[in-house]
């Protein structure tokens, strides 16, 4: 049985384009307005949605997403809000996943977390800080609930390790474009293309590139060699910069439309 996320990549590969994957933390800018941002993603033509589980110690995130996580935690965001946001996205017909650091999963209960993801229509979980060596319980849980465990690899990941990690991964593999944390950058590192080429040699999994993509031109460039383009901080920044939520929603829709052209090579 395939997940909606897996079906998406079959479709976009058929259309010879990349998928656009957008990120927003649950509970940001508020618990309710997060649902409006999700709808704005859908209206703007986003192909898949990544719901962030805000965490107190996000070591892979730069200042923009850290700020959003602080706001979300101040809003009292917890696991149930993450699951609610996931359901809003999947009810809108868009494949959706949760991105979370490991400790909230462990605290929630590993098996229960995977089951809740599935029952809220989610396709999988992106987990940047759990290694395959520590993943036995999680992989069993993901398998039992038929969801995709999605690992993040980096330019420093060796070929040997890429083979090991991709063998445990499903849905897509998240390729970090650079050595660093999340955040919009003026250019996408050439290291991203090298990493994607190295992954292709060991795996047929779809590959989505994240970290630093914020513009249509950058999305277009990445779409030439990757199956997916992940944009997070640029959306969060658009929301943070908007004076009102209405303006934030419209900025998000506009940015999504631009990026949706980019992933189609336009």
């Amino acid at each position: 049985m395939s997940t909606p996320l897996e079906d998406l990549f079959v479709r976009t590969r058929g259309e010879k384009r990349a998928a656009l994957i957008a990120y927003v933390p649950a509970g940001f800018p508020t618990i309710k307005d997060c649902h409006r941002i999700i709808q704005a993603f859908v209206d703007g033509g986003v192909d898949a949605i990544e719901i962030g589980f805000p965490y107190s110690d996000p070591v892979m995130d730069g200042p923009t997403i850290q700020a959003a996580a602080v706001t979300a935690l101040d809003n009292g965001t917890g696991a149930s809000d993450v699951m609610d946001a996931l359901k809003v996205a999947s009810d809108a017909g868009v494949p959706s996943v949760v991105m979370t650091y490991w400790n909230p999963i462990e605290k929630f209960g590993v098996t229960k977390f995977a089951a809740e993801i599935a029952s809220h229509g989610g396709s999988g979980v992106i987990h940047p800080d759990i290694t395959i060596e520590e993943s036995t319980e999680w992989l069993n849980a993901a398998d039992a609930s038929s969801i995709n465990p999605i690992y993040v690899v980096a330019p420093s990941t060796s070929d040997e390790r890429l083979a090991k990690v991709t063998s445990k991964c499903a849905g897509f593999i998240y390729a970090a474009s650079i050595m660093g944390v999340t955040g919009a950058r003026t250019s996408v590192s050439s290291g991203a293309r090298d990493l994607v080429d190295r992954i292709r040699k060991v795996s047929d999994l779809p590959i989505a590139v994240g970290l630093g993509v914020s513009t249509r031109e950058q999305a277009k460039g990445v779409a030439e060699y990757a199956d997916g383009v992940i944009v997070g901080s640029a959306f969060v920044k658009a929301i943070l910069d908007a004076p009102t939520i209405d303006e934030g929603v419209s900025a998000v829709t506009s940015l999504a439309r631009e990026l949706a052209l980019g992933v189609r090579g336009k």
């Binding site: 462990e106 993040v152 420093s156 990941t157 050595m179």
Partner: protein
């Protein structure tokens, strides 16, 4: 027992690696360098020579008879890590890691610091070995420990105040990890405690276990027998593991870690991770963590910046669970009483961190009575705490009475 537990960097269910893939290569490289170094007589003699001529090892053992009168009359023996160069046990680890940094061909070290002792030790080692050094320190701690900030700068290090989160040690570690993920190719993260991803808990312990090895011989030579209990304060737990480790295989010796109880564990305002926390993952390792129902890290509270950390080393979590070591909480008030008492009875001003171990000794001494021998790791000196302690005791700092 512990050897078996250490396979793959695990201590029972604790330890391991919970980090971004970006760091796996660097952790493997560090693990290999550490393994090679422990089996390399040249490395060992270089480190031993540094300890002899620079750190001032072996550190002495001081008996504290006047303080002992307030600890049930038990014999109180202090392992004087406060007399090491830079004023605490932290130098043992940084010299080892700085030598490894050079062996790995890296030119830059980064470090986190709470009280500033590890930051000062790191800046010192970097100056000695010609490495660039950046120290991340919570903004709150830069205020509490302004003197150590100045020391680090004098030693040529760059100090970056961290303004995210609770602005203390936990957030300094987050920021150091972000730096490391970005600059891992030429940078070594000189982690200051026995926490973090494998190999840090094992490696940092190995660089500190000399404390217990020396102390065990010194106690035997002085008293003719092993101590009844070994006591140390526990934040991340490096000085405690350092003095405990050689005694783990002596079942008759009780190992007692004293955590920072802040206003009292029952108030929720504390940093007693084992006494008041639960198993979880923080900063790359599974151990006890102060956390809420969603797995969010809860801010810790302690008068001692060096113990003000919501995690603890995974080997301590394991020693606790198997019952080999016991962990108790000491409140701010109890620690400051012990701080004052050691100063006035023995002429030794301890670090406030260390005062938690002394307060524990006052209790354990009364429990065990005058026939007992207690070995305490006097992990650091109190020079850096003069301002905090003066405020606490209402001593004016302007020279007026």
């Amino acid at each position: 027992m512990s050897l078996q537990a250490e396979i793959l960097g695990h201590f029972g269910p604790y330890g391991g690696r919970f980090v971004p893939e970006a760091l796996i290569g660097a952790l493997n490289e560090l693990d290999a360098a550490h393994q090679a170094a422990i089996n390399d007589p040249e490395f060992q003699s270089e480190l031993a020579e540094l300890h002899r001529t620079y750190t001032g090892r072996p550190s002495i053992l001081t008996e504290a008879p006047r303080f002992a009168q307030h600890a049930g009359g038990a014999r109180i023996l202090l392992k004087r890590e406060d007399l090491n160069h830079t004023g605490s046990h932290k130098i043992n680890n940084v010299l080892g890691q700085a030598l490894l940094t050079k062996r790995m061909g890296k030119k830059r070290v980064i470090a986190e610091t709470g009280a500033g002792q590890h930051g000062v030790a790191s800046a010192t080692a970097a100056a000695l070995m010609g490495l660039d050094c950046v120290v991340y320190m919570g903004e709150e701690d830069t205020r509490r420990q302004a003197l150590n900030v100045a020391r680090m700068k004098m030693l040529g290090a760059e100090v970056i105040p961290v303004t995210s989160g609770s602005r203390t040690l936990k957030d300094a570690i987050n920021e150091a990890m972000r730096d490391w993920v970005t600059n891992v190719e030429d940078t070594h993260y000189l982690l200051g405690t026995v926490a973090g991803p494998h190999p840090f808990p094992t490696m940092v312990r190995d660089f500190h276990k000399i404390i217990g090895e020396e102390a065990r011989e010194q106690v035997l030579a002085l008293t003719g027998r092993l101590p009844d209990a070994v006591l140390a304060c526990v934040g991340g737990g490096s000085n405690a593991i350092g003095i405990f480790h050689r005694f783990i295989s002596d079942p008759e010796v009780r190992l007692i870690g004293l955590e920072a109880g802040g206003d009292g564990v029952e108030t929720g305002r504390h940093a007693a991770t084992i006494s008041g926390g639960s198993p979880g993952v923080l900063h790359g390792t599974r151990s006890y963590v102060l956390q809420d129902a969603n797995g969010q890290t809860v801010e810790s509270h302690s008068i001692s910046a060096g113990l003000d950390y919501p995690g603890v080393g995974p080997e301590h979590a394991y020693l606790h669970d198997i019952g080999r070591a016991e962990y108790r909480a000491i409140t701010d008030k109890e620690a400051m009483e012990a701080f004052s008492l050691l100063s006035k009875t023995e002429g030794i001003i301890p670090a406030i961190e260390t005062a938690h171990a002394l307060a524990g000794a006052m209790k354990v001494g009364k429990e065990l009575g005058p026939d007992a021998i207690l070995l305490i790791n006097l992990s650091g000196r109190g020079d850096k705490d003069v301002h905090t302690a003066a405020q606490y005791f209402g001593i004016p700092l302007d020279g007026q009475s």
